[in-house]
Assembly symmetry: C2
Homo-oligomer: 328 residues x 2
């Protein structure tokens, strides 16, 4: 049986375009429409109408559960997921869990009753027991679980190594990994491993200083950062778990007369817009969020076509050098 | 005929709770469930199952079209809409228009084919001709149009007055309203009117300096701000159209050696988290986004119950004083 992908290849068009022709969505020129129809005829392609009618009008709806919308990292993730979904002919049903497990359970139920094509789960706190036998594919974003059909993440370990290397090259000798821990183990935890390994390999002192589990919707770290600075006055380089934490490190340092980057150098994580809006702006690890979001939606589409799925897709990260690690 | 609201009143519970019992969503204690059932019996309340089945499983889905997800103001709006929808038993179908009119047309079509309960429109660029005869209520958020069933906005004029008063009280005498204009007229335009009126009433010089129409998803204003500072070197007080613009004013000033608040005082608009994450932090006009989002969802619910709707609901704003207007 020819798949949508075969038709796209035959017609020399993107899968998204062919999908739009099939679903009669968006503006399609007559020429493109004819082109797709000819390709379908040549390949004897039959859209799976049974499956489509079984799942009713929601077959092109993807459920997304996200822990926060206001947190700039998750706002970026959601924005990229919406863009990727649009390009591939899907709609998003949005659920924000705000760290409440009971709400996550309810949202998973809503996804079932709404016959979503798939669920993209961006939150770490859903119990894995809820993940089995959902009746639709489960794609986890920055969370690897055994019961998930497919996980998409960035190379957090590499990110930690890059951050340590940057701080060491900038002359720092007392490094701290400053992060919020979560109640469950997450791919993001490997940032710390990469950071500490790089420091050890370079013979530089490094500490792991962690905040209690965070409410991602709250984003208030200033008191915790003050305690950290009291506890580690000798630190000259900080790797913050997110740009949001890094931005607040800059604020607390300013209040205390600690100069960034002269007295303390700072590297963030995520590369959200906030990292460009502070003074100094923040050196950070760029997560390829757009590519990661596209991979998630691509997996949904491939799953719908019965293709076998990669259980884990990991993307390289990169260092973006800005003012918070400037030398001299 | 008794309405859901009558049942809620009779049972002494919120409409959201009664709605959950009816729709069997979320955790509800046996006691609450019994309470609701007794109230329904007393009032002879009959859920409108015909309407429900006509509109199928999507009767509790609200479409949201938003111009940007990453922009911190719209991230906050979306977060509050999701929360309000959750509390009142609705789900959100999310569409991000990114300033593309063709995409907005497509999204409105998708809302129709998905039989949404209502559409909340947070973008200014949809052509009003598309707004007629949708078949579902249209609620406009910070956009008043004659064809919309109900508009929800903040008192932008009052916000402009507050901003001018704050700058004048802080000693500024050369004021500028710095804002991005849009291709269509928006409620936000009244901020400028309130600002200029307050300055005129106080006998203080004020200019309106506007940037070309903005792409809300882009959020890069620094070159425009440099040009503004070149053009208005005598300005000692700036009212920025958003906290995002205000944050970038701080950055450009820092680069140029202009001290905020000593040389130039700055007031933003929106009161998003970013306004607390800069140094100095930003005095701003607080929009009651949570209340505005709740009003939107409330209108959806009341519309579903056949109640008459307020054509326009305007919320007071308030000034949040922070470091960017500090005196001395």
């Amino acid at each position: 049986m020819a798949t949508l992908k075969d038709v796209a290849k035959e017609a020399g068009l993107s899968v998204g375009t062919v999908s739009r022709v099939l679903n009669n969505r968006g503006y399609i020129s007559d020429e493109t429409r004819d082109n797709v129809k000819r390709a379908m005829a040549r390949l004897n392609y039959q859209p799976n109408e049974v499956a489509r009618s079984l799942s009713k009008q929601n077959s092109n709806t993807i459920g997304v559960i996200i822990p926060s919308i206001e947190h700039p990292y998750f706002a970026k993730v959601l924005s990229c997921l919406e863009q990727a979904a649009h390009e591939q002919g899907y709609k998003l049903l949005l659920f924000c869990s705000r760290g409440e497990t009971s709400r996550e359970d309810e949202y998973i139920k809503a996804c079932r009753s709404n016959r979503v094509a798939a669920l993209i789960l961006c939150t770490g706190s859903v119990r894995t027991s809820r993940m089995r036998n959902l009746g639709f594919p489960l794609i986890t974003y920055e969370r690897f679980i055994n019961t998930g059909d497919a996980g998409v993440e960035c190379d957090n370990y590499e990110g930690g190594r890059f951050a340590a290397r940057e701080l060491i090259q900038a002359g720092c000798r007392k490094l701290v990994c400053l992060r919020a821990i979560q109640e469950v183990s997450l791919p993001a935890d490997s940032r710390k491993d990469g950071f500490l390994d790089e420091c050890r390999d370079s013979g530089v002192d490094a500490y792991d200083y962690s905040f209690p589990p965070e409410n991602l919707d709250d984003m208030e770290y200033r008191d915790l950062i003050r305690k950290f600075l009291d506890a580690c006055p000798e630190a000259d380089g900080v790797f913050a778990g997110s740009d949001v934490i890094a931005a607040q490190v800059l604020q607390v340092c300013k209040q205390r007369g600690i100069r960034v980057p002269q007295d303390l150098k700072v590297v963030g994580y995520d590369d959200v817009l906030l990292s460009q809006m502070t003074t100094p702006d923040i050196t950070t690890i760029h997560q390829p969020v757009r590519e990661m979001a596209e991979a998630c939606v691509d997996i949904v589409r491939r799953s719908a076509e019965g293709e076998s799925l990669p259980s884990r897709t990991t993307f390289h990260v990169s260092l973006i050098r800005r003012g918070s690690t400037a030398v001299g």
